[in-house]
């Protein structure tokens, strides 16, 4: 608020003397007397009678005549010669200052404001309706009056080079207020910035200011001189409905040029449905790129073609390889279009640079996406790890994503993201989620194999799922990898699957469940996606389904299918072989693969000749549930009792036997030894004979 007050005070001072004079309560007589006394007697004494207002100039012709307003000295001098040659010269002073008619001189102050509208009624009326006029009516101290633009005593015809509003001067007249740093630009809401600067660099501005083409459009050409209205006002010359008409005042045959882009017939009839001129040719920035580019590049390369050029600050090479640029996507973009703050009038045009390249001035939509992404948000916090455009796209050698050399070409994307997201790299280190070995897993996945081994450029790569510029964590509802968005995201390629899935019991719409429902990656994983006909997938699916269907998965392992699966074989039926994969439905649903009508056919996929009765086999039976499966429960425990009973009786019988058996063994051994001893004796006796 304080700043505003100071600004207003400032403005008051700059205002032309006459207007402030009208406001002033009293003109000190002393000042007038002094000015008369010290003025050249001859000049005061020689009022030319053929000059209108000679009487007034007797005083106001003195260059030193001034007054003090708000502590500052303000000249009250009127250049009689200029006034005499001005458009109003023949009217005399009282032609405008009507309240001095017949008054004695020196006159009382202040004078009544001059009413230009007395003669210029239509202009006055337009001005009153304009932004400026309404601001005056509100008492806005910054609002311009006629005199602020046109001057007072030195008004010349518009085509006269001396006129304040001759086309060459218009940008500066408007620029008095509409330029960076002025009270108006700081304190009033104006959608555009750097208006004067941009205009002066635009094709219009260059034509007017550099080439002196006085027919080149100025501010007033588009905004009109007096009826200046905001672009939101339907009556405004720069409203979307009217902008075409405004531009075609000069570009009258523009439809024929734009046939490729816009159907000419619709040009003015349905301007609202077409892009307005300013949608492509931004206001104030309109450029003729083909003309300025070579010039500007040459200026830059004057220094930057030197391979030894180094930045004084840090010794970084400032060499620009023109070959890189000319083979890049930006081959037709001039240096200054990216390094937009250069000033061609300087010896070193780049000394005015204050910031790096802002790609969003052309890539606006991409820029918006980037800003909302995790990368962009980190960059907004000046995080040193945050990647900016150039980290992925490079600088001068930027290539389109269709160029195999480009880091954003599909087969190069995993490697590009891996720079930060590979395990141990800066992004992977700060990541706290559940995904690990992202790059390694992707490379081995079906997508990674398709892209990197088979070279299928249509295969999903990092950006296919995460988007290129709007990368967000899965917890963000806006993220493409948020569970709510995953089916649609995968469905961009796997459309048929998505359709099935959206009609399955796992789709929120069908189940109406408040529980968290699985989406693609819950079964297929995010990065390690495998072929579904591979053993790994078929063996893991039970655990995947079992994460939610714990009980039913457990009982599956009590039956033949499950037991064989557990041994590591894929041939027996897995969950989805019976229930369906993406089209899984409640078994009560008539469309389910397991409904009364379909179940036999489902079994027949493996068991040729299976009947409805065959399908009565309980694939999830357990003998641990006496309520649900009493016959299994009692069979099991009956068999177990038989087993235990037999083994206990047999075991006891054996244990009781053991002591006797050992006893028998000892007796037997003793008998044997005795027999052997006897035999030995007999052999000894027999031997000598033999």
């Amino acid at each position: 608020m304080g700043q505003l007050e100071i600004d207003m005070a400032e403005i008051k001072i700059v205002r032309r003397a006459w207007r402030a004079g009208l406001r002033i309560i009293g003109v000190p007589l002393l000042a007038i007397i002094l000015s008369v006394l010290f003025s050249e007697p001859g000049r005061a004494a020689e009022p030319t009678t053929d000059q209108p207002g000679a009487e007034c100039l007797a005083c106001h012709g003195d260059k030193s005549m001034s007054t003090t307003r708000a502590g500052k000295t303000v000249s009250l001098y009127v250049d009689g010669k200029k006034f005499a040659t001005s458009v109003h010269g023949s009217f005399g002073c009282t032609g405008c200052h009507a309240d001095l008619e017949g008054k004695d001189l020196p006159h009382d102050t202040p004078l009544a404001p001059v009413k230009c509208g007395t003669c210029h009624a239509s202009e006055q009326e337009q001005h009153a309706r304009s932004l400026h006029g309404k601001a005056i009516a509100r008492g806005d101290p910054l609002a311009p009056h006629c005199v602020n633009c046109h001057g007072n005593h030195d008004i010349y015809p518009v085509k006269d080079p001396r006129s304040a509003v001759t086309p060459m001067k218009v940008p500066f007249v408007c620029g008095q207020c509409h330029r960076e740093g002025t009270p108006v630009s700081r304190n009033r809401t104006i959608a555009q910035d750097n208006i004067l600067e941009n205009y002066s660099e635009s094709i219009h501005g260059e034509a007017l200011l550099k080439k002196g083409l006085s027919v080149a459009p100025t501010c007033a050409t588009c905004h009109t001189p007096h009826l200046i209205l905001p672009h939101t006002d339907p009556a405004s010359s720069i409203n979307r409905r009217n902008i075409a008409a405004t531009c075609t005042k000069c570009h009258s045959q523009i439809e024929t040029v734009h046939r490729k882009i816009i159907r000419g017939a619709l040009w003015e009839k349905q301007a609202n449905v077409l892009p307005a001129c300013v949608d492509c040719h931004q206001p104030h920035k309109i450029r003729n790129v083909f003309y300025t580019q070579g010039m500007a590049d040459a200026d830059c390369l004057h220094c930057h073609a030197d391979e030894k050029l180094r930045r004084a600050r840090d010794g970084q090479s400032m060499y620009v390889n023109l070959g890189e640029v000319s083979h890049s996507r930006h081959t037709k973009v001039a240096c200054s279009q990216c390094h937009s703050e250069v000033n061609a009038s300087r010896v070193r045009p780049c000394e005015t640079l204050t910031r790096g390249v802002d790609c969003t001035s052309c890539h606006e939509e991409v820029g918006r996406q980037y800003i909302s992404s995790t990368h962009g948000q980190l960059n907004g916090k000046n995080d040193p790890n945050a990647p900016t455009c150039k980290e992925c796209h490079g600088t001068h050698a930027v290539l389109g994503k269709l160029d195999p050399q480009s880091p954003s070409f599909p087969t190069n994307v995993p490697g590009l993201c891996a720079r930060c997201h590979r395990e141990g790299q800066k992004a992977a280190v700060r990541y706290t989620g559940r995904q690990h070995e992202i790059i390694a897993n992707y490379t081995e996945s079906i997508h990674g194999n398709g892209l990197l081994k088979a070279g299928l450029t249509v295969t999903a790569t990092c950006t296919s799922c995460h988007t290129a510029h709007r990368v967000l964590p899965r917890t963000d509802p806006e993220s493409t990898v948020n569970p709510a968005n995953v089916p649609a995201m995968c469905g961009r390629c796997h459309h048929g699957i998505e359709e099935q899935f959206e009609n399955s019991i796992h789709a929120k719409r069908i189940s109406g469940s408040a529980k968290e429902l699985p989406v693609c990656n819950d079964c297929h994983t995010a990065h390690a996606i495998r072929r579904t006909d591979e053993d790994g997938f078929r063996l893991e699916i039970m655990d995947k389904c079992g994460r939610c269907h714990a009980e039913i998965a457990k009982t599956y392992f009590d039956t033949y299918h499950g037991k064989v699966s557990r041994l590591g074989y894929t041939k027996t039926a897995k969950c989805y072989d019976c229930h369906g994969a993406h089209d899984v439905l409640a078994v009560t649903d008539p469309r389910s693969h397991l409904s009364r009508a379909n179940v036999a056919a489902t079994c027949q996929k493996c068991h040729a000749g299976a009947t409805r009765r065959f399908a009565g086999y309980l694939t999830h039976a357990t003998h641990h549930d006496p309520q649900k499966y009493p016959f299994l429960f009692y069979t099991f425990w009956g068999m177990t009792a038989l087993l235990l009973g037999t083994c206990v009786i047999g075991g006891l019988h054996t244990l009781l036997w053991l002591p006797r058996a050992f006893q028998m063994r000892q007796e037997l051994r003793a008998a044997e030894e005795k027999a052997a001893a006897e035999l030995g004796k007999s052999v000894d006796k027999e031997d000598p004979d033999g």
Partner: protein, 297 residues
């Protein structure tokens, strides 16, 4: 008595051949066919147990290893079913053999089934069982067993029971589509439980109680291989089956049941095979214990 002396080998069971003397003669307990059937039974039973238990204990790492070792679950399945066919073959061959035995030696089923060599349990078996228990606890002498002891008869009929229970349920699981034409589908669940638990009973019983009772009793340690050679030393018959021995001596038919013993190389081979079977059996028992007690879920 002199006759018996002549028959007895000089050094009991572990007879060394006398230098250049007559070969040892042993009592024939089993026919060639019976011995072959027992070997077939061992092979098929071990195969069935190993392949079947991989499924029953699929939750152990062991089972997965074994299943892969056997060439995968399908290969294991083929082995299991082939072994089952062999088992059925053994069973029916034995029935045919019984029929011929009846024709050849007994003349009537009655003579075969109710004679002293009958496999059917008799009142005497019960008496012997009671007497045996008394002997165990030191309340009496060891009973004078006949040709078949009660525990041998129990083992024999366990096979009948097993073939009937495991075989029939196994067939339904082998041909589920056929059997569910007239049986409800859930019968397959019941059949699975019966098949696998009865099989567990069979393996558990054979590899512990039968092994001990018949082959590993301390007095016969390390092993009784009579069922493989078909022969047993006469003094062993006299000691183990006194009633049979006496009956044979009394009837004078002992001599015609005597044969020459096998050479050492044959018995060594048989012992090696038997040790292998024992090792497999004990491994299975250990695995079952581990699976039931430590890995069960």
């Amino acid at each position: 008595m002199a006759k018996a002396d002549a028959l007895e080998s000089p050094s009991g069971r572990r007879a060394r051949m006398p230098n250049g003397g007559v070969k040892e003669r042993q009592f024939i307990r089993f026919t060639r066919l019976q011995r072959i059937l027992h070997i077939c039974m061992i092979v098929s039973f071990m195969s069935l147990a190993l392949t079947g238990l991989t499924l029953k204990f699929s939750y152990t790492k062991w089972a997965a290893v074994l299943s892969h070792l056997l060439g995968g679950f399908e290969s294991a399945g083929y082995i299991h079913r082939s072994a089952a066919v062999v088992m059925f073959g053994v069973f029916f061959t034995h029935l045919v053999d019984l029929y011929q035995l009846k024709k050849r030696e007994y003349g009537s089923w009655r003579a075969l089934l109710l004679g002293p060599s009958s496999m059917l349990p008799t009142r005497r078996d019960f008496a012997e069982f009671v007497a045996t228990l008394k002997w165990f606890v030191g309340q009496g002498e060891r009973p004078a067993y006949g040709r078949w002891t009660y525990w041998e008869k129990f083992d024999y009929f366990a096979v009948f029971w097993g073939i009937a229970v495991i075989g029939s349920t196994g067939l339904t699981l082998w041909f589920p589509v056929f059997f569910t034409r007239f049986l409800p589908g859930r019968f397959l669940n019941v059949a699975t439980i019966i098949h696998s638990d009865e099989a567990l009973l069979a393996t558990g019983f054979i590899f512990t109680v039968h092994f001990f009772n018949t082959h590993l009793r301390p007095e016969k340690f390390p092993m009784d291989i009579t069922v493989f050679t078909g022969r047993m030393p006469l003094e062993e018959l006299e000691r183990d089956k006194p009633k049979e021995y006496e009956a044979l001596v009394a009837s004078g038919k002992l001599e015609e049941r005597m044969e020459e013993a096998y050479p050492a190389i044959v018995t060594r081979t048989i012992r090696a095979f038997a040790w292998g079977a024992l090792a497999v059996g004990f491994s299975i028992v250990l695995w079952i214990i581990y699976a039931m007690l430590f890995a069960y879920r």
